[in-house]
């Protein structure tokens, strides 16, 4: 194996692949990154039996072949290289890397022990890469991080014809977002649970092309996997084999009051007040017509803070407590200037959603096809003492 490649191109591909390497590999070869040259194509792959990642790069090759190299080391080296073309040559059990005046010789891992990457399932359809990245980011924030409750660490992905619904919950909040896509087969219907962390990472880094091919194999043919292919990059992840909560039943159908608030100002106020809230203590929000007063802290040993913020509020005055992190996560995810919170009671979930700005300037009505207004973030309140 022998090839020449631009330093930036190589560094990007290796860094992207290295992200999915396991921090503590169960088998030493899984710490490796596989370099494979075929014709003028280099593929850079990593796999840990759960997640696979594969980046393709154009190179000037003089000899095909493959080599398995310690992944993190390769990522660190390629990131640090000077801005010159890189020449890589397999030399028996070692790999030579030359870039400008820098010269590395790396040990390789036994490539014959490396597991073959799962083949990409057949394509299910196309999603807009930016929409997908935004939607996944908005929903994955609500997923649980506790691996002892696997069903809560996933994002539910539901396909119903040309509509995809994503949902995630950690029992205390629930985020749901819908968006349109272009399925291969009209009328298709499917529902899977995808590890949230992996999905969020993939969606965020597959935005270099306009579209992502979504592929799915579930159920019958062994373990289900989800494949995501962007421009020159593809990744697969094993699906979680767990039931997801019946989240639609949790969504409140009506509300008794609602507030419309400026996201930036309200977020800043909430962040300031939350500085005194110790872990596990709530942010107390008193909504009255025209304003909300935020409080935190209060016992003798801790600090206290209070701040008023102008909001539109419609309904009976209401005092409700929130875990500040949960509230701030939701506010950061709505991606609109103004947000709306619907309340039923201080002990029932509050629903945060983005408010579309009336498109006054261009006079164009907000197209329903965009469905950007479909984001819902439910927060279960904290019962306030006393």
């Amino acid at each position: 194996m022998k090839f020449r490649v631009a330093r930036e191109v190589l560094a990007d591909a290796v860094a992207w692949t290295a992200r999915s390497l396991p921090p503590r590999p169960s088998v030493p070869v899984l710490a490796g990154i596989l370099l494979e040259v075929d014709g003028n194509q280099l593929s850079v792959s990593g796999f840990d039996y759960e997640v696979s990642a594969r980046a393709e790069v154009d190179v000037q090759a003089t000899e095909s072949g493959r080599a398995l190299v310690p992944g993190r080391l390769l990522a660190e080296i390629t990131r640090a290289l000077p801005p010159h073309p890189v020449e890589i040559t397999a030399e028996g059990p070692r790999l030579a890397l030359v870039c400008g005046n820098a010269r590395f010789s790396l040990p390789t891992l036994p490539v014959e022990d490396y597991p073959s990457l799962p083949s990409m399932p057949s394509s299910a359809g196309l999603v807009d890469s930016d929409v997908f990245a935004e939607a996944v980011g908005q929903v994955a924030v609500a997923a649980g991080r506790d691996d002892t409750l696997p069903m809560l660490t996933g994002v539910r992905l539901e396909i119903e014809d040309d509509l995809i619904t994503l949902a995630a919950t950690d029992r205390y909040r629930l985020a749901v977002r819908e968006f349109a896509w272009r399925p291969e087969t009209p009328g298709v219907s499917a529902a899977v649970l995808v590890p949230a962390r992996t999905l969020a990472e993939a969606a965020k880094t597959l935005t270099s092309g306009p579209e992502i091919v979504l592929s799915l194999s579930s159920g019958s043919s062994g373990e289900g996997i989800l494949g995501l292919s962007g421009k020159d990059r593809q990744t697969t992840t094993r699906l979680l084999d767990a039931e997801f909560v019946k989240y639609r039943a949790i969504m409140p159908n009506d509300s008794n009051s609602h507030a419309s608030l400026p996201v930036g100002l309200f977020t800043d106020a909430a962040k300031r007040v939350a500085l005194v809230a110790e872990r596990g203590t709530p942010l107390r929000c008193e909504f009255t017509p025209g304003q909300v007063t935020l409080h935190a802290g209060g016992s003798d040993e801790e600090g206290q803070a209070e701040e008023r913020c102008d909001v539109e509020f419609d309904g009976e005055p209401l005092t409700i407590g929130f875990n500040p992190t949960f509230l701030l996560d939701g506010l950061a995810a709505v991606h609109t200037e103004r947000a709306r919170i619907d309340f039923t009671s201080p002990l029932k979930p509050a629903v945060l959603s983005g408010v579309e700005e009336p498109a006054a300037d261009d006079g164009k009505p907000a197209g329903p096809a965009e469905r950007t207004g479909s984001y819902r973030y439910l927060i279960m309140p904290v019962r306030l003492p006393g």
Binding site: M380, V382, P385, G386
Partner: protein, 426 residues
């Protein structure tokens, strides 16, 4: 007693005499004046308390019950009733708090009191001590001993000297005469290991110790321990009586009759311990922020693991799930296990604690089921309702036998003759 008898004394150490055994004798008056042992009767049962009649035969706490019975074959062995002892303890502590708010319980059966602010109406510290002894006997029918001194450490030694059913005042000028003839083992912080070290240095009494330069002690025992013991040997103990901080943890553990290597058995035991612990949390009005487990292997190697919950809980099922996950994460391959324990830590007051609610939680969820089980237990006895997995067990959840229920005491060191039991919290 005349005025000025307790001059310079404001700390009381009150210690129930043979507490568990005395409560049992009160309940079974026919046993009065006979040797009574409270303790586990099983293979690995140990004595948790014994009447003075039994102690005369050499029986003491922490001794295997089998051995105690060889020493004193006529003794009556009773299994113990922690719920009853807790109730008596609560009443006694309430009495103390009616005298002074500065009450620091060390365990179910002993407490420090600072009476410097108690006013003159009850007299000086010695008179308050006698008054307490009389009230405890009148109200509970059991005796206690009281040490009166200027510091916690001397007060505690004085109550030990006064036992049983006595009161001893050690005024500041008398401290040296009282302290120096005592064996070094009497000092707070001197366990068997340190005692052995001191004896090797030829230091038998507190007086011997007092006359060794602090520097020498520090070299032999380490800086902290050395200066600590030097200060104590001259009667200096700056610790104040710290009233009743909220309890920091509660839990249960179980020593198996024989070592267990079956994960299913361990899981079942964790469930039982979690249910008991949750019951204590609920009756005390606490929520636990952290759950920890303790595992002791056949070779006595002991490990603990803990996890902080997203949301504090008093639900047995949630304690169990966390405890089980902690246990499973150890990845043990049929290791032989001697003991497992479950503890609820970093407790917060359930009423004043904000509580993160859960989405879609059923209105009558697991917590309500467990509360109903609590009510059934109050009416029909502990264990009236319990998880089906635990049905085959003969043990009664919520009413631990003395060998198994050994919650960690806040006392830094437990005197022999005293079971290690947490302060009242129900």
């Amino acid at each position: 007693m005349g005025p000025g008898q307790a001059e310079g004394c404001s700390v009381l150490h009150v210690d129930m005499d043979a507490f568990f055994a005395s409560v049992e004798v009160r309940r079974h008056p026919e046993l009065a004046g006979t040797p009574v042992i409270v303790g586990g009767a099983g293979n690995r049962g140990v004595v948790t308390s014994a009447t003075y009649e039994a102690r005369r035969y050499g029986v003491h706490a922490a001794m295997p019950t089998a051995r105690a019975l060889r020493l004193c074959p006529t003794a009556t062995v009773l299994p113990g009733d922690l719920a009853l002892y807790s109730e008596v303890s609560r009443s006694v502590m309430a009495l103390f708090r009616s005298i002074t708010p500065l009450v620091e319980p060390l365990s179910l059966d002993e407490a420090f009191l600072d009476v410097s602010g108690a006013g003159r109406r009850l007299g000086d510290a010695a008179e308050i001590g006698e008054y307490l002894r009389a009230r405890v006997f009148d109200e509970q029918g059991i005796t206690c001993s009281v040490g009166v001194a200027g510091s916690k450490f001397v007060a505690k030694l004085a109550s030990t000297r006064a036992k049983p059913d006595g009161l001893l005042v050690v005024r500041p000028p008398e401290v040296m005469d009282f302290l120096h003839p005592l064996p070094v083992g009497a000092l707070w912080g001197v366990g068997p290991k340190t005692e052995e070290q001191l004896l090797r240095l030829g230091l038998r009494t507190v007086g011997d110790l007092a006359h060794v330069p602090a520097k020498t002690l520090q070299r032999a025992l380490g800086t902290a321990a050395g200066s600590h013991l030097h200060a104590l040997s001259w009667g200096r103990d700056p610790r104040r009586v710290v009233p009743d901080e909220p309890e920091k943890s509660t839990g249960h553990e179980e020593t198996f009759g024989t070592d267990v290597d079956d994960p299913a058995v361990i899981h079942r035991e964790l469930l039982l311990l979690a249910e008991r612990t949750a019951g204590r949390l609920r009756s005390g009005g606490w929520l636990a922020r952290t759950v920890s487990i303790k595992v002791r292997f056949a070779d006595f190697a002991t490990i603990t693991r803990s996890r902080t919950l997203d949301v504090p809980t008093d639900v047995g099922q949630e304690l169990y799930e966390t405890a089980r996950a902690l246990y499973d994460a150890l990845g043990l391959d049929r290791a032989r296990i001697r003991l497992v324990g479950v503890r609820a830590e970093r407790l917060v007051d359930a009423d004043s604690a904000p509580q993160q609610l859960e989405l879609g939680a059923r209105e009558h969820g697991r917590r309500e089921a467990e509360l109903a089980a609590d009510r059934a237990a109050r009416r029909f006895g502990a264990g009236a309702v319990r998880p089906a997995t635990l049905l085959h067990r003969t043990g009664r959840p919520g009413n631990a036998s003395p060998t198994s229920a050994v919650p960690r005491s806040r006392a830094t060191r437990n005197q022999a003759g005293r079971p290690s039991v947490g302060p009242p919290e129900e």
